[in-house]
Symmetry: D2
Subunit: 337 residues, 4 copies
């Protein structure tokens, strides 16, 4: 069986990584790439990596043309733009994995508060499946629309959620100090992400105001059943890709490092993409892969978890294909190992 796949908004870094994975997928034929521009650029002029690999032009297509060419669409559009077109895509019968933030939150009020506008498709967002299979696999297989998780929430949630659910840490006073490569800032020219601005520099941004904060709290609360509050501090690292999250939590009950590691090992023993390790992870060791490496430490009066992912793979495009595989009943690891 071959699924005809399209990518909406195919000019950026997540689309690039998605294409790299999809051209290797035995059950996929990439049949559509879209862009707002009218001049039908060849994919190799946007992504030179695909010279003589993929012979497609980016089209300024809407739901109608996509429906004629695709069975499934990956959405790589900015938030708001995504939710304004996805309803049509769904009505046309296509399946959708949305990499934007539009369908991740399940509370329209929280969305309005953090994204500064009412949600254009509020009813649907309340019930959309959140595509983090290791925590919320149920429902993904049957879903027509899956909200692909944010990069930061993925690494943080995978390391803290089991500890919280099993009562090892308290739901309050959680701190997530996170560090991301520059590709996470996207491909739109901005002075702040010019090479000479980022290189040889390290800085924090969006302290206390980053839109991933409510998404992280939602994940931890829904999975654990405890209302979690998280302080989230993102930082920019002078590298292309990778996110390392150092999380600090207050112990709920006394447990040794060994017991905490054991719980994580047990939780993820059958997960192909979560690797619990006793040594300290590094982003380089998961770069280009769909793995999330996690360890945990007990220091003084805190539990510390450290997790690493490739922000463009497990934090975006790899996770999207993982969801796609579940939605179509393919082996979950297809094209991802």
């Amino acid at each position: 069986m071959t699924v005809r796949v399209g990518i909406m908004g195919a000019t950026g870094y997540t689309a690039l990584e998605l294409l790299k994975i999809l051209v290797r997928h035995p059950q996929v034929e990439v049949t559509a790439l879209t862009t707002r521009s009218e001049d039908r650029p060849h994919v190799s002029s946007i992504h030179p990596q695909f010279h003589k690999v993929l012979d497609l032009h980016l089209e300024n297509w809407g739901a109608k043309e996509l429906a004629e060419n695709c069975d499934c669409v990956f959405g790589c559009l900015p938030h708001a733009a995504s939710a304004s077109v996805i309803p049509e895509i769904l009505d046309a019968g296509m399946k959708v994995v949305d990499l934007s933030a539009d369908y991740r939150l399940n509370d329209p009020d929280v969305y309005s508060q953090w994204y500064g506008a009412d949600h254009p498709d509020a009813e649907r967002m309340k019930t959309t499946v959140y595509g983090l299979p290791e925590l919320f696999r149920e429902g993904i297989a049957e879903a027509q629309l899956v909200a692909n998780p944010g990069c930061y929430p993925t690494g943080i949630s995978l390391s803290l959620a089991p500890l919280l659910k099993n009562g090892f840490i308290r739901p309050d006073g959680i701190i997530a100090d996170c560090k991301s490569g520059v590709s996470g800032a996207g491909r739109t020219p901005k002075m702040g992400t010019l090479y000479p601005e980022c290189n040889e520099s390290f800085s924090a941004y969006g302290v206390g105001t980053h839109r991933h904060m409510p998404e992280i709290e939602q994940n931890l609360s829904v999975y654990s059943g405890h209302q979690a509050t998280v302080i989230f501090t993102p930082h920019l690292v002078p590298m292309d890709r990778g996110i390392l999250s150092t999380c600090y939590a207050i112990p709920e009950k006394d447990a040794s490092e060994k017991e905490l590691l054991g719980l994580l090992e047990e939780t993820y023993q059958n997960e192909p993409f979560v690797r619990v390790r006793s040594d300290l992870p590094a982003t380089k060791h998961v770069a280009g892969t769909n793995f999330c490496d996690i360890t945990v430490r007990r220091v003084k009066d805190r539990v510390i978890t450290i997790s690493c992912i490739d922000n463009l793979i497990k934090g975006a495009s790899g996770a999207a294909v993982q969801n796609f595989n579940l939605m179509y009943g393919f082996a979950e690891t297809t094209a991802l190992l």
Copy 2:
């Protein structure tokens, strides 16, 4: 007046930065550079930056030869090695700024516990002046020996100490999540600091075990009068230089971001090298300078301070010259602006 200055252990990065500053210092003549090697390498063969700038050979000298050539010595030796030779240097009448860790702690037992051996000069370490002028200026001017602060403790202490002393934050539950460039790891070949190992990677190290932890706690406790406990997590950033410290503390009393910033502004208003700022600092903006940039944020139930220094300048060699200037009665900013 000209001070004849020597550097013990002149082959590394702190010595390199020290030399760059000292050759610009109007009251300094660099008269001695030492190394363990016997072959008298020219400084330009160790530090090519000094080709046609400085014409000196590195000598395998001890206290006796140093005494014949120098009035003051900067110690850039590893810990233990430093304390084993400094007593002779002092007995010979020279002044010393020691950049090693040997005289920073004032409790021999804490030293033994963290450095795995008894201190070779325990009595002296109890009373040695800690050279962080902004917090402990008193005594530096009269000292024959000054212990130069560690790179991490400098940025962390400058941001937290005033808040703790003035009762704005609690002394317990402090978290210091720090990120440093690779030059902090020194110039000795190790696989872990090879370019292809560090580049495009971000990782934590020494979690809960780094030797700067007791030094940070000592600084905060001595300055504030409250026994502070700190969880210190260092990380390695793929860049040459710079440390950014993100610190999380529990408020002791209710205060707005504005009040907290105001306290820091007031504390450091006459300090030439501490720049309190309302925007978020970046390591690039202090690179190559002796500045420490600091800001503070109030997020949920925490106070967050963020500080940046150049680990080799304000975190080592710049601070050393700042102490040197105080010890000789020169303007504190000489050769540092």
Copy 3:
């Protein structure tokens, strides 16, 4: 059919990349990894990327143990070390792809001159097949031993050889100005490849003395039938991987840029891994792939070719698997696209 494969000298970067490719190869089972150390380290302690991916220990094995476990061996040993063990491996009946320099040159005197010692297996080196399939495919399929090309010679030879063979450029006065990422320098700790030495720096090395020079001249001469002389200048670029080679040649006959591009297009039209392009290539666009991207320009009185490869893939481990596929009659692109 499954081939049992071993890697001799499995601790470095070429072995790491080789393993990444081989674990994806449907006809390969990795059965042996060797090292000089005696303590049988687990592969994940040497290459953390393989945590929970590959469960093997590195063994201090010789030809005998390898013969019991492998059908084919990839040699990732230093030169000289390689030629001292490969004869036994071959006598034991295994096939070998040697990534060292030992069997690339076909003239023992040239080897002695450039490598400072007589070749331990001189007779064999005279006739060993040079594994650059795009220029010398003949013989690889039948070979028991294949000499895998050097990283620099690969990109240079693929861009210049067709122009020289077809009489478009002169065999004398060729200049190859090449730039390589730091991984090419290997994983052995040296001060020169420490992060703070390489980062934010660019330099030339081995000017007129690099051992790849005679290999380049041999390739061009053998393929074209003209005795070529090449000036080769390698440079170190602050990045992990990638080689860009800018080559300057004197036109032999008048030809337009279009004609030169046409010749290259025609030469490589059926080659899966050489991509002739009219725009300027960048190392990033071939990073992690087995592609060699090439373009050509006519400027004033010179022909300029520019080629890019990933030094660890097409310049080493990818080419090795390409040769392996030919030696076993597998599709040449298996595990490489």
Copy 4:
């Protein structure tokens, strides 16, 4: 004596480096910074490095306001924009160091050909002094307007000009293969200079079409008296700053490496900023300095020169202050060592 100095176009990287040097200059008071924007940004909002160091706003000023506040102006405007305002500045009696390309060439036709438009101040450009003191010091001291050299032409000209003038190399067949850090591309947001596009990549650009080519040929020809032709190939290196130029020339007469080095040593023996060295230079060893490091090699049938500069210092702002010092009779090295 204090000179009141202004910078036209103060938002970019050359202006930033210029300011860092000028605030250290004992005879300079910075009295004006200009920008096209109308909102009078504070310098520290454009260049955070100057927080609490310099208290000036960027003004949208023309010649009239500059004349009221400045004795001398440094022009950091784009080409064409620069020549359209400089005549007024000069008429108002101010001295000018122009860092744009507008007054470097002395042939209006060559300018039109390479810059695609007629020169707005053609007569003046014919006779403007070219501010490369080591080759053309004469006239700088008396000049009201000095054209500051381009970054690439500086390193190339300093290494080749003496060899050409003294008949050691031929004026034809010269190849300059140059590598520059990304800061040379300026601070205007473009996709091509985003961090994720440049990092971990190396590429050539402007092959045979870069506007510095005629400037290089003019320098070599004017200085040597021989009409030189140069093939110039610039490349982009993933680092902030530094240019390394590898130049290949055909020997005119037989000379050893030692003789060639000797000539360069002799030529520059009294120059404070040119360092001839026998080892291979690296950009890191001149970063942040006004030095140009040069060496020369004899390989086969070519002479190879390798030179390094900091593109923003000796390649721009440092050279500008060097010219300024000469124009005002200050010691040439003031604020530059």
